[in-house]
């Protein structure tokens, strides 16, 4: 029983982690709490749905394409909305508010086009096979979800850690001005990060859409508070923290439903978030940040 729950928790948690990764990446590098991340997540799911139903593509072809679409959307948001605010050095809350506007715009536009009702992938899109290992039942879909999200996350961490590009991204995260003086193309890094974060968010949207087989305009809005909880747990801007935080939230949710009561599922996550903030504001693994006077 507990092993089965762990499998479910791992699946859910790895998608949360993928979602939170983009969220935290944008915060770490652009210093923006990007509340349009949920809308991009949802747009990714709809893109995959359209590619499957209208273009008759297989889901594993549609997934990377949907990630490209949501990445492009993220880039567009950065260029049209966030760039002017950066140029003017707006108060740090302004980009956050602007992304609320973006989320409202995208969510309602999608609702206007596709309607508020839940859409589903056509029968046969989602792999239905499952394996029985002892008492545990694992579906092919669950395996695919865990593998895909782990690969994406490992790839990102490897790039950040070992390549010149990753070094540049980390330098910009540390200090954009100094990076600029050192000859790093800071604007290009911002663009790249916006694209990557949105692509990861869109990918998470497709995977969540597949695992619940339901896609609706407000699916991303529901995930925003959870994403916030995860990146606070892991420490704002901390890539590895977001991954651990995502898994942790998945486990906490599945276990609280299984062993406590489904009623207080969200309260467990957010109660925890509240406590963490009071005890360790920099997150479970975060460095203690210097307070700017």
């Amino acid at each position: 029983m507990i092993a089965q729950q762990l499998v479910n928790a791992l699946t859910l948690g790895s998608v949360y982690a993928l979602f939170a990764l983009g969220f935290t990446l944008v915060f770490g590098v652009l210093e923006v709490i990007n509340l349009s991340h949920g809308a991009v997540f949802m747009a990714g799911a709809y893109a995959a749905l359209l590619l499957v139903t209208k273009a008759n593509l297989g889901i594993w072809v549609a997934l990377p394409l949907a990630m490209l679409v949501s990445g492009a959307l993220g880039l567009l948001i950065d260029q049209v909305v966030l760039k002017p605010l950066r140029a003017r050095r707006a108060h740090h809350l302004m980009p956050m508010i602007a992304t609320i506007g973006v989320a409202t715009l995208i969510t309602n536009a999608i609702q206007g086009i596709f309607g508020a009702e839940t859409s589903r992938f056509p029968f046969g899109t989602i792999p239905e096979e499952s394996f029985q290992i002892g008492a545990i039942r694992i579906t092919e879909l669950q395996i695919a979800i865990v593998i895909i999200s782990s690969l994406l996350m490992l790839l990102l961490v490897a790039i950040l850690k070992h390549t010149r590009l990753g070094k540049a991204v980390r330098a910009v995260a540390e200090n954009p001005q100094t990076s600029y003086l050192l000859g790093i193309n800071v604007e290009a890094v911002f663009c790249l990060v916006s694209f990557t974060a949105a692509a990861l968010g869109g990918g998470a949207g497709v995977l969540i859409g597949l695992s619940f087989n339901s896609i609706f305009p407000f699916m991303g809005q529901a995930l925003i508070p959870k994403g916030v909880a995860v990146i606070i747990l892991g420490g704002l801007g901390d890539v590895r923290g977001a991954m651990v935080g995502g898994l942790f939230l998945g486990v906490a949710e599945v276990m609280s439903v299984a062993y406590l009561s489904s009623d207080y599922r969200d309260a467990v996550a957010f109660g925890l978030l509240f406590l963490i903030l009071l005890v360790r504001p920099a997150g479970l693994f975060g460095r203690v940040m210097e307070r700017k006077a």
């Binding site: 709490i33 509340l35 909305v81 002017p84 605010l85 003017r88 707006a90 740090h92 809350l93 302004m94 508010i97 602007a98 609320i100 506007g101 973006v102 989320a103 409202t104 715009l105 995208i106 969510t107 309602n108 536009a109 609702q111 206007g112 309607g115 809005q221 925003i224 508070p225 916030v228 909880a229 606070i232 704002l236 009623d263 207080y264 969200d266 309260a267 957010f270 109660g271 978030l273 509240f274 903030l277 009071l278 504001p281 307070r291 006077a293």
Partner: protein
Amino acid sequence: MTETLQVFWATYNTLVFTVGVHAMLALSIFLTLSCGLLSLGNAAFMGIGAYTAALATLRLGLPFGEALALGGLLPGLVALVIGIPTLRLSGVYLAMATLGFGEVVRVIFLNLEITGGSMGLNGIPMKTQLWHILAILAVLVYGFVRIRRSKIGRSFEAIKEDETAAKAMGINTTAYKLLAFVMGAIIAGVAGGLNAHFTFFVSPREYGFDPAVDILTGAIFGGTGSFVGPMIGSAILAILPELLRFLQAFRLAVNGLILILVVIYLPNGIWDRKLFARLRKKGAA
């Protein structure tokens, strides 16, 4: 003439009430913002106030005034208790902590028996009159005008500009921040109580993340330079969906678009005195 007025009132009285309640919420978030605190807990405090006032009416049969007072008192007490540890946080962290608090409150409403679970409370009698809302708004506006140049108002401003410097000047920053937080919660709670007594019901859905964001959005849209801006901003955002009915499903998308445009092109909100002064100069020249 009077007939047109009557028809107008019959159609739009809920909207007028809503605009008034939103103006109150805008004032409540302005109060915390004017002290440099970004709190996203106002929707939760509004919820606590709405449930408290509604239960006072339904279960205890208290008169409206007392129900409203309780609806302000309880959120104030809760703000006092959670404010003491929470207000040590600043900036984004405070925003996220209050967001977490809001979600916990919502889940509690959803699961307690006395709050009616996911169905909420229904059949709350209509007790809110227009003059109640106007009178409370008038008192609040008078209070805000008086506070601005008082010791409290100047302390808030000093903390907002630079907390460390304010502390060095001998301002008890913790006490003033707590004061702003608690007063903001009381105003939000009363607004919630008023709201419950003209919409006839309260449900957990109304006090979650989205309303918290809406309150903030209205305030920023109007401009947080003075208390007038948030009131105007939230009023416009409350009326806009009605004006844009012809766009049907897309009308809320327009809300988002307007918000983006304002943040990019009118950084100080739409109620921006400096902008007005510049425009006037241009007009004169």
